[in-house]
């Protein structure tokens, strides 16, 4: 017999967890006491939402399930945006929340919140533990559900008294969930049909989505494209799925993608969707997909196939496994003319120099200075697309952002998680002045743990993307300005974090050299013209 809180920590160790992100409180103290006595590293964030975002960044870089912990009531509700963010981008998380004692549930007591009810629609599954003896099964199931099939967050709500009970500590070897058996292997007949559709096409095009990054099927996708001769476009979440320096690489599609990549989709007669859910931001409400186009859709989640666009060949299963099987049989198509057409459509970016910093050029300059394994985390807004469009995602590098939810304030804490997962890699977080201030408190976490993270802050004293929409739709009237922005470099300095403010393109090289050369966290604030466009 073991105290449940201590058993929980043992289960975490069993699952290979060595780092958790959290913020303690009254009704999670038993777990915290057990954590204190363990070898698990606990990163104390400054607000719970950051715990979920950091666990998210950690999961995406490490390939493991991220774990975050908060107390009941406000601690749990602060996690909500982070949980929803992970859900929309299919990131495996196990979220632990404290809960008021079992006997008090439902009586609106101090710091009580129905967190399982609240997160029902954006967790893959959740548990309110009512019987401490079920904890071994619940933890085993939670990690299994979070990390298999289409990954996602799973929440376990732990009433205070349950944490203190004594339970037998037998961690089950296997899981047995009747209603959960994700399809892994692709259906042989469907694979044959997919290959046939590809063989019959003239201008086939692969659309790689975030699923390729999640399932780490990069090598299989590369082989698939090379063996078949099919060129590749990708979604925002699929950035990094295919090397951007490859002859088959076309570019990012979508409402904020490159027009030549969108044009390529319009010209194709067959699309092979690989781990892409054809979100509205990708297909522009399916507008860019021609009516009579053939579609092969490969995804681990059957519910994504046929949800937005009709599909000729649905193919459910793990991308890596399916592509491997297809690679055994696929025949090379003569796509030379098609590749040539696509090649001539590509336009080279030119960067104008104005009186302030050109953010697109800044990302290009930075991209040139980063090493081959750098991780680039973009926040949300204009900075997200400046980064997505101008950061070179060479093989070995990684790009991540909050794609589905579009959560401002994601960038900084996610980058913290990324750096902790891979201390040897360069990690850069790009944000705007809006998103930066939504997670500004994390400067405390960064300073306290001396996280060697480089922050690039594009400051235009506005919510640039909102301003752009307002200007386009309503004319010049009424845009939101972030008045009285602080002196960000001084603010960082108050936390003991070094920084530099850059007001022109000429200073970029020196500033990035200084940041990347510095050991420890560093802030580069770039002053940007509010009229700078996203695209």
């Amino acid at each position: 017999m073991l105290k449940a809180a201590e058993a929980i920590v043992r289960f975490l160790v069993e699952e290979g967890v060595d780092t958790v992100f959290g913020y303690p409180g009254g009704y999670i103290v038993h777990v915290y006491e057990a954590l204190r006595k363990s070898d698990i590293r606990h990163i104390l964030v400054r607000q719970e939402s950051a715990a979920a975002h950091s666990a998210n960044g950690y999961a995406r870089v490490s390939g493991k399930t991220g774990v975050c912990i908060a107390t009941s009531g406000p601690g749990a509700t602060n996690l909500i945006t982070g949980i929803a963010t992970a859900y929309m981008d299919s990131i495996p998380l196990v979220v632990l929340t404290g809960q008021v004692p079992s006997s008090m549930i439902g009586r609106d007591v101090f710091q009580e919140a129905d967190i399982t009810g609240a997160t029902e629609s954006f967790t893959k599954h959740n548990y309110l533990v009512k019987d401490a003896s079920q904890l071994p099964r619940i933890f085993r199931e939670a990690f299994h559900i979070a990390s298999t099939g289409r990954p996602g967050p799973v929440l376990i709500d732990l009433p205070h008294d349950i944490q203190a009970e004594d339970i037998p500590c037998n961690y089950p070897e296997t899981v047995q969930i009747t209603g959960y058996k994700p399809t892994v292997k692709g259906h042989a007949g469907q694979i044959k049909r997919a290959l046939k559709a590809i063989a019959e096409s003239e201008r086939p095009l692969i659309l790689a989505g975030g699923g390729v990054n999640l399932s780490r099927a990069h090598a299989e996708l590369l082989t698939f494209s090379e063996k078949s001769g099919i060129p590749v476009v990708h979604t925002l979440m699929g950035k990094g799925a295919f090397p951007s320096n490859h002859a088959h690489y076309v570019g990012m599609i979508g409402t904020h993608g490159f027009s030549y990549a969108n044009e390529a989709v319009r010209m194709a007669d067959l699309m092979v969707f690989i781990g892409a859910r054809i979100a509205d931001r990708t297909a522009g409400g399916t507008q860019i997909l021609p009516e009579n186009m053939s579609i092969v859709h490969i995804d681990v989640d059957p519910a994504e196939i046929g949800k937005i666009v009709g599909t000729q060949v649905p193919l459910v299963g793990d991308l890596g496994q399916i592509l491997k099987k297809m690679n055994e049989k696929i025949k090379r198509k003569d796509t030379s003319a098609w590749l040539e057409t696509l090649g001539t459509m590509k336009t080279e970016e030119t960067y104008k120099t104005g009186s302030l910093v050109n953010p697109k050029k800044a990302i290009r300059v930075l991209s040139g200075k980063l090493n081959d394994t750098a991780i680039m985390v973009a926040d949300v807004g204009q900075n997200q697309f400046w980064t997505a469009r101008h950061f070179d995602d060479l093989p070995g590098r990684k790009f991540m952002t909050s794609g589905g939810m579009g959560t401002m304030g994601y960038g900084i804490p996610a980058a913290v998680g990324a750096k902790i997962a891979a201390p040897e890699r360069q990690v850069v977080a790009v944000t705007g002045d809006g998103g930066f201030q939504m997670s500004i408190f994390e400067l405390g976490t960064i300073a306290a743990n001396n996280i060697d993270l480089k922050m690039v802050l594009f400051n235009n004293s506005h919510l640039g993307m909102v301003r752009e929409i307002q200007k386009r739709v309503f004319g010049q009237t009424g845009h939101i300005a972030l008045e009285k922005n602080p002196n960000f470099v001084m603010l960082a300095s108050a936390y003991g974090i070094k920084g530099v403010r850059v007001t022109s393109d000429d200073e970029l090289e020196a500033a990035f050299d200084q940041a990347l050369g510095h050991k420890g966290p560093f802030l580069v604030e770039c002053v940007v013209d509010p009229d700078e466009s996203t695209l």
């Binding site: 399982t116 009747t178 209603g179 399809t183 007949g189 469907q190």
Partner: protein, 175 residues
């Protein structure tokens, strides 16, 4: 576009707290309409079975089945064929029945093989089971007497013959 047909889904779920909320929540947040939902435990006390009547075209029905199957607590979902299944609903109905009308009401009750379960000076309470058509027909015959209250369980259904829900493949395994 196909028409908004009615479909009767039979859904096996884990008999656990929160399942009903997960299923009904899924319908409301994705904008699917439930006509009725009934639930009860099965031959296995760990498993419950829901009968859900929904309206929707083929796309909606496909989405409902796929999204239901994504719920961890959902074990199996089948779309019951109207010609191969038995549908029943139970209704309790309280109608005005003074001395002068009581006999004629009981006559109708007998024709429908329903039964009177309570009598008062002013009312009769009738219990009846049947498919939806039978129940609707009975309600319309009771209208002239004055209906005080109606309570219905919602449709419940089972496939005819020896086939069981468990013999169906799980969604995604098919084709």
């Amino acid at each position: 576009m196909s028409v908004n047909n009615r479909h009767v889904l039979s859904v096996l779920v884990e008999n656990q707290a929160g399942v009903l909320s997960r299923v009904s929540g899924l319908f409301s947040r994705r904008g699917y309409n439930i006509d009725s939902l009934s639930v009860g435990v099965t031959e296995d006390p760990a498993i419950s079975r829901m009968t859900i009547v929904v309206k929707g075209d083929r796309y909606i029905l496909e989405q409902i089945k796929k999204q239901l199957n994504k719920l961890i607590d959902v074990i199996k979902v089948i779309d019951l064929d109207k010609d191969k299944s038995v549908f029943r609903e139970l209704m309790l109905i309280k109608v005005n029945a003074r001395e002068n009308s009581r006999a004629s009401i009981i006559e109708i009750v007998d024709i429908f093989r329903a039964s009177v379960v309570d009598v008062s000076n002013e009312t009769l309470t009738v219990e009846m089971t049947g498919d939806e058509d039978k129940i609707e027909a009975f309600i319309s015959l009771m209208k002239p007497y004055g209906i005080r209250e109606i309570v219905r369980t919602g449709l419940t259904a089972l496939e005819r013959g020896s086939k069981e829900i468990k013999s169906y493949k799980k969604y995604g395994e098919e084709d």
